[in-house]
């Protein structure tokens, strides 16, 4: 499943360090272009939505919107509601895991 863990970790280290370090070094006086920074503000939300969508809407490899077969759908709605209210990663995880376990036992 995991082919080149060392290359993966090294690559991740580089692409994490560069955006954290270089602005600190170079941008203490200059400003980033406001359009670029506004475009970048949309990237995390898009990534998380994409990651979630690629998992939640698929069951056994195919697109599935049936909440009885695809047991990830109902817990996801619950987690979104809780996250909107609490914004807590930990509580979202706890609710998500409990809900999916319950679905798994029932279905």
């Amino acid at each position: 499943m995991l082919e080149h863990p060392v290359i993966l970790i090294a690559g991740m280290a580089v692409v994490t360090f560069v955006p954290r370090f270089f602005p600190l070094l170079l941008l203490s006086k200059k400003e980033i272009s406001p359009s670029l920074s506004r475009w970048m503000s949309f990237i995390p939300v898009s990534i998380f939505a994409s990651l979630v969508a690629s998992d939640v809407f698929f069951w056994e490899g195919s697109f599935n919107l049936n909440p009885v077969m695809n047991i990830k759908l109902i817990p996801s709605v619950l987690v979104i509601l809780l996250a909107l209210k609490t914004r807590s990663l930990l509580w979202s995880m706890i609710l998500g895991v409990s809900a999916i376990s319950l679905m798994w036992l029932i279905v």
């Binding site: 090294a10 955006p19 949309f42 939505a49």
Partner: protein
């Protein structure tokens, strides 16, 4: 460095340490579950040190994504740090290259959040800031290793563990809902991801969907005027 500098730096870090212990253990478990050894988990926390990126890597490895596409997604995810690093740079501009290297490497979302607000609010010395960052960093490393060890000792239901990740990404997504345009970008990203995944049958769909949805969010925000929104710091 003075003793009280270290004490006040560590003190500032305590609420973050508590959440890093819980999330770090979870992260270690999912990374172990994805096929990383405890040693690799330690190296990753030490060298990468980015919670969201490490969870992302675990998830993409499980999906069978290639190494370059995982690195590309991690890069996109980390672009938000450009904004944080740039905005905190004015507080540490006279520091040495070594200081900036350490401060930059340990600039997680949470370290940024706590240090930036303290720099703005009151007298916060760059040394206190780096102590806070380093104690967050140490906590994360130890917790992920612990998670890896726990993962290696107990069999874990993969459906449920994998869903713990999804629940976390859902919450991270919701935390980014700072304007209507951001919510729209999320919806667009969901639609693009589903369509492209069905059509392409390849997880490059995630990269394309992310870039397209960010552009849509940006265009919509431009059309509807700038106002509030715009603040990306989660």
């Amino acid at each position: 460095m003075r003793r009280d500098t270290i004490i006040s730096g560590v003190k500032a870090s305590t609420p973050i340490m508590a959440s890093y212990i819980a999330l770090g253990i979870a992260c270690g478990i999912v990374l172990y579950d994805a096929g990383f050894t405890v040693g690799q988990i330690m190296m990753m926390s030490l060298l990468v040190y980015a919670g969201a990126a490490q969870f992302l890597a675990a998830s993409l490895v499980v999906m069978g994504a290639s190494v370059p596409s995982i690195i590309l997604m991690v890069f996109f995810l980390n672009l938000r740090h450009v904004l944080m690093s740039a905005s905190i740079s004015s507080f540490v501009k006279d520091k040495s290259l070594l200081y900036l290297g350490i401060f930059g490497h340990t600039l997680s979302d949470e370290s940024f959040g706590i240090n930036y607000s303290r720099f703005q609010d009151k007298q916060w010395h760059p040394n206190e800031a780096v102590v806070t960052s380093l104690s967050n960093y140490g906590t994360w490393i130890v917790s992920t290793i612990l998670g890896g060890v726990i993962g290696s000792q107990f069999p874990i239901n993969t459906l449920i563990m994998n869903y713990a990740l999804i629940a976390m990404f859902l919450c991270m997504m919701v935390m980014q809902f700072v304007s209507k345009a951001h919510i729209l970008a999320a919806i667009a990203s969901v639609c693009f991801t589903v369509i492209l995944t069905v059509v392409l049958q390849h997880n490059i769909a995630l990269v394309i969907a992310t870039v397209l949805a960010s552009c849509i969010g940006y265009i919509v925000e431009n059309r509807t005027g700038r106002r509030k929104g715009g603040n990306s710091h989660a």
